[in-house]
Symmetry: none
Subunit: 194 residues, 4 copies
């Protein structure tokens, strides 16, 4: 655990706040250090460089994010319910941490290509969770058996991501979690007339 290293966590938390408040490009190392209550140099005792701080921010937060979603869906009986739970928890967690929402949906995307590649690696386990739900649904017969899992996953993740980004850009003015059932309905039924 990183609890032994309180400064590590202080820096991570400071980074999220500083980025959310100042934007990615105005988030200097010195600003993060100040908010964390440590010297600039101290950051380099815990992280290789600035990029490493950002990746670690995403890794730490995404770890929790995925864990909660996994917990949430494993109680559910079928793939459709799991998908709803996944959407609900996805929206819920970003709703509950406005800083995190801003950082993941807007600021971290401004980073250069290399960094975003590494961020995608961190995202990978989440995409696997989505894949599992889809595959489970196919096996259960809840979803069609001939789905292209990759495409479905891209539809699911792309939709959730777009919905959240729009919500963040509208200054988080409306209730995101309340949209979960509609989004779930849309994804499962598509545009087909019942």
């Amino acid at each position: 655990m990183k609890n032994n290293k309180p400064k590590y966590n202080q820096i991570i938390e400071a980074a999220v706040q500083v980025i959310a408040e100042n934007g990615y490009h105005a988030s200097q190392v010195s600003k993060i250090a100040k908010k964390a209550g440590v010297a600039d140099g101290t950051i380099y005792l815990y992280f290789k460089n600035k990029e490493d701080v950002l990746i670690s921010v995403f890794t730490e937060k995404m770890g929790q994010f995925i864990n909660r979603i996994t917990e949430s869906i494993e109680k559910k009986g079928n793939a459709s319910d799991k998908l709803l739970a996944l959407i609900d928890m996805h929206f819920r967690q970003l709703s509950e941490d406005r800083y995190l929402a801003i950082v993941t949906q807007l600021e971290l995307r401004q980073s250069k290509a290399e960094l975003r590649l590494q961020i995608n690696k961190v995202l990978h386990p989440y995409l696997k969770v989505i894949d599992q739900v889809i595959e489970e649904g196919m096996q259960e017969g809840v979803f069609p058996r001939d789905l292209n899992v990759r495409l479905v996953r891209q539809m699911v993740f792309g939709t959730l991501d777009e919905v959240v980004t729009n919500w963040v850009m509208k200054d988080q003015k409306y209730n995101l979690v309340a949209q979960a059932p509609d989004v779930h309905a849309l994804l499962t039924k598509g545009l087909s007339v019942s």
Copy 2:
């Protein structure tokens, strides 16, 4: 016509290439000027500043992009066919211009908040086109009449965007256009078992 202003177009085209090849942050004005075959200062005869070049790149390209999609869908008889045509042309155009695909899916997203706001404005007409197709489908009875248009549009655009981004990140190794019918099927039928 912009044929009267050949340098304007030279600079736009150079910018797309330079950004695609070097990445957003390594695309210095001097590099764009060199590729365009003009002096650095010449860029400032046609554009207010570097940001203006980038916005213009996006505006010019997106204008053509939307026009072709609009042309393509207006021949179609019903909303479902129009949606398919839209997806097909969306994929087709980005397939045919690998530089443009890289720039729109990866590089331009690294720009700072203000610039991205303006990019969103340019994107807006495209979102309106999607909305129209959805609304038309609802009126025709091809799509359910009780759809939340905003959510559907976010699903459609989010899905297309995610599919294209994944394709770009996989170095455009597979045939993107060939995915259009499957994506269309997915969006219209969702995950429902026939």
Copy 3:
């Protein structure tokens, strides 16, 4: 005469105005050309370069300036009266042309050392006029015969220059010409108790 070359004068007059209104550093060649109603390149048909425009501005204006002072003092009977007339005309001319005052007292001094050297050459005839008045006064016995002419001239010119500069920097709020008799009295009597 330069009357044959109306554009020459247009450019000179435009330069004075542009410098007075925008300050020395914000007075681009293009701005002067626009105000003069000519193309940028036209300026280079009449002047070697930008510096040449500035020197010519000063030369033209200083020529008139000296001529009027010379005319004014030659009517006077003795050196002391001539000195008073010189001071009066010095103040009067700068009072009557606020643009010229700003340009000579403030803006033209921001030019680089080389240019200022040439400006000093243009100023030289005026200093000679002052010298003549002093020497005349010494011969007449109106002024002491053992004066160091150079020092006296520096006192006279330095005083006038400082008085005018202070007046310009106080936004020309008070009557400069009205100070002439007091300045004359001061220079002639000094700080001696009568």
Copy 4:
């Protein structure tokens, strides 16, 4: 004391030299840094920007300048002697620091309006010292009681400034300090015949 901040003084001294040697406009920050033996960025640890360096140069030097003059004149018994001491010290200090003389008389005057405004503020205390000497002389009866203090001060300062500037432009070839008694005699007696 500024001895705790050796770099601050190194930069100030380097700036004076670089400006005197290269002229105001050719005095890049990098050149000053190099002469001071520090990195470019170090300058920004001690000064807000380049202008701040220049103002600080003038402030530091003018502070010393005024202090020495104040010390020098307070020992003197009457206003006339004080004026002589002021002139002597004014000339003496600029004679002893050829770099400072060039910078104050020529280079710093090329700065733009805003900077010159701040330079004038720094000069203000010196003008007040001159005013005090004049007022003291009027009270003592050494100078006429009906003097216009402002005008006298402008005569005194204008004369000293002009004398020093001429000396600097003549490449400091003659003995400036030796002129002090003559200048004093001129200012006190004026052009009156004894």
